[in-house]
Symmetry: C2
Subunit: 397 residues, 2 copies
């Protein structure tokens, strides 16, 4: 057995990919064996998934082949599904094999949180992966085709989005852009189509600037979205949803964006978790495990006011950078770095040419905010894949 330390990274999301890319850049020859494990042979750009879900962009623009991102001379890639993490044995059990590690990075991503609402798990779809958004896109188109054969079934043309957080808002923005195209393609009267965005909290985008939230809701309402804010989904059925005091909204399409939890594999591994997320130490390590780092939606960190950071791409990327630094520091017996979140701002798209956002301490709306959103997307492509990836995946128009 070689005495080169073995680093295993589980998951090629924002946290895992950034960790891998930084290790690839900083590690010296033979300083460590790095293996990246991912279920698919591609990385997907979660913040872009609302577009292929609505059908306003090709799913190909939301994924990048892992072989285009990492240098396979420096990092081994294993396409497999993680079945079990065994910290006591320093092993990871895969669907088709086993990996030993000296250092482990867990960035397996979150799962939809349904808060025990009956039927959401069975009947609602989620904007969580390339496969799930392809399903949503095809499902929506299929409802238009079905309606033309059964014109009394207006529930085929009712689309319910549960949750008015960033994913829900960005998705209804795209969907309201797509509906006129679909109506034209299938000869459907646009007046028959209904989009509901249902949120239990007393406001859309809870925690975001109220003035921008109001601007955004006005834009989306004009585009045909009906908001039901402060309204809880009580149940999801094969026929639609039940909200508030037993009101039924009939629909064949329910998309749930109302919550993210951590990962069951982490709970099963014996870590102490809150909703499947591990409260990591300042250096991003799992408590009691000096050699296990946790990044992205699987980690839980609190800000200065003692509130948890939301699971965003921005934080996962920054964690990946610090995680890679600390892995190298451990190997070189150098001091670890503490993680400090640097908020670069937040922009929510509202569909073509419209967005709301805060960046550099300023509020932005309309075309400027939409352009800012595009710049953030392009910057990410540049960070992970340089100019070639920007040219291949970036949409400039």
């Amino acid at each position: 057995m070689s005495n080169i330390p073995k680093i295993v990274i589980l998951g090629a999301g924002y946290g895992g990919v950034l960790t891998a890319l930084r290790l690839q850049k900083e590690l010296n020859y033979n300083e460590a064996d790095v293996t990246l494990v991912n279920k698919h042979d591609y990385h997907y750009i979660t913040t872009h998934l609302h577009m292929p879900a609505a059908g306003t962009d090709n799913p190909e623009n939301a994924r990048v082949s892992i072989s285009k991102l990492i240098d396979e001379f420096k990092i081994d890639f294993v396409k497999s599904t993680v079945v079990q993490i065994r910290p006591q044995d320093k092993k990871v059990i895969l669907e088709d094999g086993t990996l030993s590690y000296d250092y482990l990075v867990i960035g397996l991503g979150g799962e939809p949180e349904t808060f025990g609402i009956p039927g959401l798990g069975e009947y609602a779809m989620n904007i969580r992966s390339i496969n799930s958004v392809r399903l949503i896109r095809e499902h929506i188109e299929y409802q238009f085709a079905r309606f033309k054969r059964e014109p009394h079934r207006t529930d085929y043309l009712t689309f319910i989005v549960g949750g008015a957080g960033f994913t829900g808002i960005e998705f209804v923005g795209e969907l309201s852009d797509r509906i006129p195209e679909l109506c034209k393609q299938f000869d459907v009267d646009p007046a028959l189509v209904k989009i509901y965005n249902i949120e239990a909290a007393p406001t859309a985008l809870p925690g975001f600037d109220p003035e921008l939230v109001e601007y955004g809701m006005n834009v989306l309402t004009k585009k045909g979205v009906t908001f039901r804010i402060g309204t809880a989904i009580k149940e999801c059925t094969p026929d639609g949803v039940v909200v508030g005091e037993g009101e039924e909204i009939k629909s064949q399409t329910v998309i749930w964006t109302g919550g993210i939890r951590g990962n069951r594999l982490i709970e099963d591994a014996g870590f102490e978790t809150m909703r499947g997320r591990v409260k990591v130490d300042d250096n991003l390590r799992a408590p009691g495990h000096e050699n296990i780092y946790i990044v992205g939606d699987n980690s839980l960190m609190f800000n200065e006011e003692g509130r948890p950071y939301p699971p965003t791409a921005q934080i996962a990327m920054q964690q990946g950078v610090v995680c890679a630094h600390n892995l190298i520091a451990s190997i070189r017996n150098q001091p670890l770095k503490g993680f400090v979140f640097s908020n670069k701002g937040t922009v929510a798209s509202l569909g073509k040419g419209e967005a709301i956002g805060i960046a550099f301490g300023k509020k932005y709306t309309g075309r400027t905010a939409a352009w800012l959103k595009k710049l953030i997307d392009l910057r990410y492509l540049f960070i992970i894949g340089g100019i070639p990836l920007v040219l291949r995946k970036g949409k400039f128009f």
Copy 2:
């Protein structure tokens, strides 16, 4: 009330459109009032529907706006659905009105014949209209998206086509071209996809040249089609079909192309029918009704050997020409013309670059036959819409 004779044409299929176009060309000013009634404001090119059904062409290339075909200064167009034909009152009841006529042309098109096979009406789709092929196309894509979320459900990737007549054969040809594209788009292993073409008769394309049939089946088998010839579908269920002696083939997609019957409206109107078709006289008139012409799939005619002509676009078009001639002759008190079918040949497409056909007494296969098929399609576009329509709808590549 004016004493100008009123001609009402029901249906803008091949027979109805050709009748209308000829009347428009030949009638003198104020010689007759002509009204064309159709459910949609477009005519569709039924012989092209197998392509948009499989997704190898856009449905727009299989339909033509009626306003582009007829001159609305000369012919009135009413977009409505026929509810009842009342020969005794010389009236047609529409969904939203009533029309009186002196002369009636019925070209309402056929309906799928299920021969009483249980479940076919409920669970199978048909290649019969723009709306029905859009449903098939979206349904097929949806199965690929569903499979990616439920990879144990290989029945999502099994496609069953009932009937190996011209429609069935042409459709499996297109579908086998489309499958590799869909597999690429959805990351699906092509080996998992199955296409079955099931035919109860002892041969595919019954009545067609046996040598060409064998050629065609070889081409399609190489493209991945599994033929089950001489095998009857006993039942169609939500889970697939039951064939032969109780064998079940699991599938979520059954497309029935196994038979065409006439129209229930004709049966309801009191005409004597065989499977919804009226045996017309030599002049294309319904027996006992001098003022009612029946064209296309609603009419029944026998060849010299006493066998019924199959319901094809070719025969409907030729009937439309004779029907228009006889309507004008009736108005002008001139002798009517007898209908004589002139067989111009038959070509069946087998997908991209492959076809089989007989024309000018010769057999054709491969690229030459495919080119011949294309020429026939272009010729039809030219007949109904001239060069502008050929340029707009004709695919030259």
